[in-house]
């Protein structure tokens, strides 16, 4: 399997463009507990990358590590050629990376509107056009503008979290299980939205348990298990790989 991984990192993606995110030999964890071992990952400009893997594989940990939220133990993370290892999240945001965490991803006591405004905190002014775009994508948010976010349903909260991350029009968007807890129509819609966002030029790095759908849509996929790279290939190739299907996609 290690040979697979090495091979994987060397394979060039189909997408043209400069390298946006480059993770090399990343070791990270919580406290003394190491979760990720020697993880490599790349995202190119405008690319759509999906990470799949079993529960507890370290997918979320990887996302958090990119965003400087875990205990860094080795390796580097570069963004647009610049070393961002160990930067503070607010600086990483300035670089143009947006992040929607898996859990706890809204300000429960703030209203929906305020949540969205927070998304644009680093700007001097709330960009009205961005707000309009978000409202257009998620009409329920406009309807519930004044509701306390914590009282929205699970799915509504997920949309709000997405909306918030979109407020800054990032060049790379990290999404941790964006479809979890969404109704089927919304899952579909969410994936469509992500496609849209991606097509508009934003690179997407996404973790998904809805693996088949995600792999079908993405440019490239990584399979993470036990905190290590296992496979990397185009989405369709992974979908068709017998081994991957059996071990990670439930047959």
């Amino acid at each position: 399997m290690s040979s697979d991984a090495t091979a994987a990192t060397e394979s060039t993606p189909d997408v043209e463009g400069a390298e946006l995110l480059r993770v090399r030999g990343l070791d990270a964890g919580y406290g003394d507990l190491q979760i990720l071992t020697d993880v490599d990952m790349d995202v190119y400009d405008g690319e759509y990358v999906t990470i799949v893997g079993p529960n507890g594989a370290g997918k979320s940990t990887l996302m958090k590590s990119v965003f400087g939220l875990t205990n860094h133990m080795g390796g580097t993370v570069t963004f647009e050629g610049e070393d961002i290892t160990g930067l503070r999240p607010e600086d990483i945001i300035h670089e143009g990376v947006g992040y929607v965490p898996q859990n706890d991803n809204i300000f429960a006591t703030l209203t929906v509107q305020e949540n969205l405004e927070m998304g644009a905190y680093i700007l001097d002014e709330v960009p009205q056009d961005a707000l309009d775009v978000v409202f257009e994508r998620f009409p329920i948010l406009e309807e519930r503008k004044q509701q306390k976010a914590g009282t929205m349903s699970g799915g509504q909260q997920q949309m709000l979290a997405m909306g918030r991350a979109l407020m800054l029009d990032p060049s790379l968007l990290l999404l941790d299980e964006p479809s979890a807890g969404l109704a089927p129509d919304l899952v579909e819609e969410m994936f469509d939205k992500i496609d849209e966002i991606n097509e508009a030029g934003t690179a997407v790095l996404m973790v998904e348990q809805n693996a088949k759908e995600a792999l079908r849509r993405c440019d490239r996929g990584y399979v993470l298990a036990n905190g290590e790279n296992r496979y990397v290939d185009t989405g369709t190739a992974l979908l068709n790989d017998e081994q991957v299907r059996r071990d990670f996609l439930g047959g």
Binding site: N55, S153, E188, G250
Partner: protein, 284 residues
């Protein structure tokens, strides 16, 4: 680690029944759970609006609906976590409306949470040992009085055996001594379900038990659920994965804007115009 099929028989659980007030699922009631005219408003928002439905004994019933339809709120109302503004909940013929959560759980109606809530600083074993009902040692005086305590210890031994059986059944016995806080999302879901089962419920309410669970694990979990259902347990399941609902549920209730939009077999639901419009979004 892959041999799964040796789940315990129903009577294996029952053999421990002497320590439990209630025992195996009560077959005499055809519809153990009846919800009638349930209503709850938060400020201006009516989360649940005159919801009326019932769940048939020994079935795996699905509760579906768009985000914000009021499914979790319905669960909270049924299990006493919040109090309804109107309506009644009847369980096994008893009116349980507005009762305290622990009292409802003791009646045999047990829930899991949409976001798995583990007792993080307790080991998996401790989590599990907590669950069984009416343990002798839960009375403080029994636990500390010399002599009387022997009875408590004895029961602990029995419980532990049963806990191991259930852990093996759910295939999480290898992490039995791990702290629950160190489990991954999927393992937590398993633990949560295993723990709920140990309370020896008649009926389980599962709130999106498969959200975020890896597909292979999901499959095995479903196998367990089916086995349990065959043993006579009743399940009410909230889930968004329509394929899963279609393949596994006998009966589906569709909630929309706090009301029951329709109910029926998966086939009925799938072809129901209203449902397609409100929920499935035309792409089924």
């Amino acid at each position: 680690m892959s041999e799964t099929e040796s789940g315990p028989e129903a009577d294996e659980f029952d053999s421990e029944a002497e320590i439990d007030a209630t025992s195996s699922p009560d077959v005499s009631v055809e519809y153990p759970l009846q919800v009638d005219g349930l209503r709850k408003t938060f400020g201006g928002i009516t989360a649940v609006d005159d919801a009326t439905f019932q769940v048939e004994n020994g079935t795996l019933t699905g509760l579906i609906g768009p985000n914000g339809a009021g499914k979790s709120t319905t669960f909270n109302l049924i299990t006493g976590m919040i109090k309804p503004d109107a309506g009644t909940v009847t369980f096994n013929g008893d009116d349980i409306t507005g009762m305290e959560p622990h009292a409802i759980a003791n009646q045999g109606l047990v829930r899991t949470f949409q976001i798995a809530r583990e007792l993080e600083d307790m080991t998996v074993l401790e989590n599990m040992m907590l669950a069984p009902k009416n343990q002798r040692g839960e009375k403080l005086w029994r636990s500390v009085t010399p002599g009387v305590r022997n009875g408590v210890i004895e029961q602990e031994e029995e419980l532990l055996d049963r806990v191991w059986e259930v852990l093996e059944f759910f295939e999480i016995d290898h992490i039995a001594e791990e702290y629950a806080g160190n489990l991954s999302g999927g393992q937590r879901k398993l633990l949560e379900m295993a723990r709920a089962l140990l309370t020896d419920p008649d009926m389980l309410l599962l709130d999106e038990p498969f959200a975020g669970v890896n597909p292979s694990l999901e499959k095995r979990l479903l196998t367990h659920i089916h086995e349990l259902r065959e043993q006579g347990y009743t399940f009410l399941l909230v889930e968004h994965d329509m394929d899963l609902i279609m393949e596994n549920c006998e009966h589906v209730i569709v909630l929309h804007q706090g009301r029951v939009l329709t109910e029926g077999t998966p086939e009925d639901i799938k072809s129901n115009e209203e449902v397609i419009e409100a929920y499935l979004g035309g792409n089924v």
